[in-house]
Amino acid sequence: MFAIARGAIDVVAVEDAVRAPECGAVVTFVGAVRAQSDDGLPVVGLDYESHEPLAVQTFEEIAREARERWGDLRVAVVHRAGVLDVGDVAVVVAVAAPHRAEAFSACAFAIDEVKRRAPIWKKERYRDGPAERWRENP
């Protein structure tokens, strides 16, 4: 499952998509909208925008790279686009593997790469702070 979601992400469906009898370990990363920006401003919400076909293709590439590094894995990546409030789930990465070390490593790798290179952009909106800002990942 590799997708841009226009509405709320069903975390269970993403986890279930990677479950398999040979996989004893599922590691899931859920990224949610924080009440505070990295530089400490009070966030009320985010707008996410994406190049959807290229984003989905990037998720598939990242999964392929993870399998090259850590062997047989089942990977799902879903990122939400549109208007999100504080607490809303923005991204879910689920990785299933026979054993947990590979699942942890591959899940951490995948979310790092999604943040680094997926064509997805984020504009933060603030409570009685400055005007909204596009925010880039470091």
Binding site: G31, H51, W121, N137
Partner: protein, 81 residues
Amino acid sequence: MTVRVLAFARIRELLGAPESTITLPDGARVCDAWSALTGRAPALEELSSSTRVARNGLLVPRDERLQDGGEIALLPPSGGG
């Protein structure tokens, strides 16, 4: 030749639209398209080094030749997650 341009995030805002069409001399390259767009929206200039350009799902270099009727996507630094 004409090329369709998809713009996102800050670049979309500076260009005023998610899609636009630009007309360029035959043989034009990605960098020529970027120059034409900077003519329309000078504030793009400071985003030049951080913007990646994709065509058909692949990143392309600035000296890549464009094709008539083709499409490029202008991608600011990622902010997902």
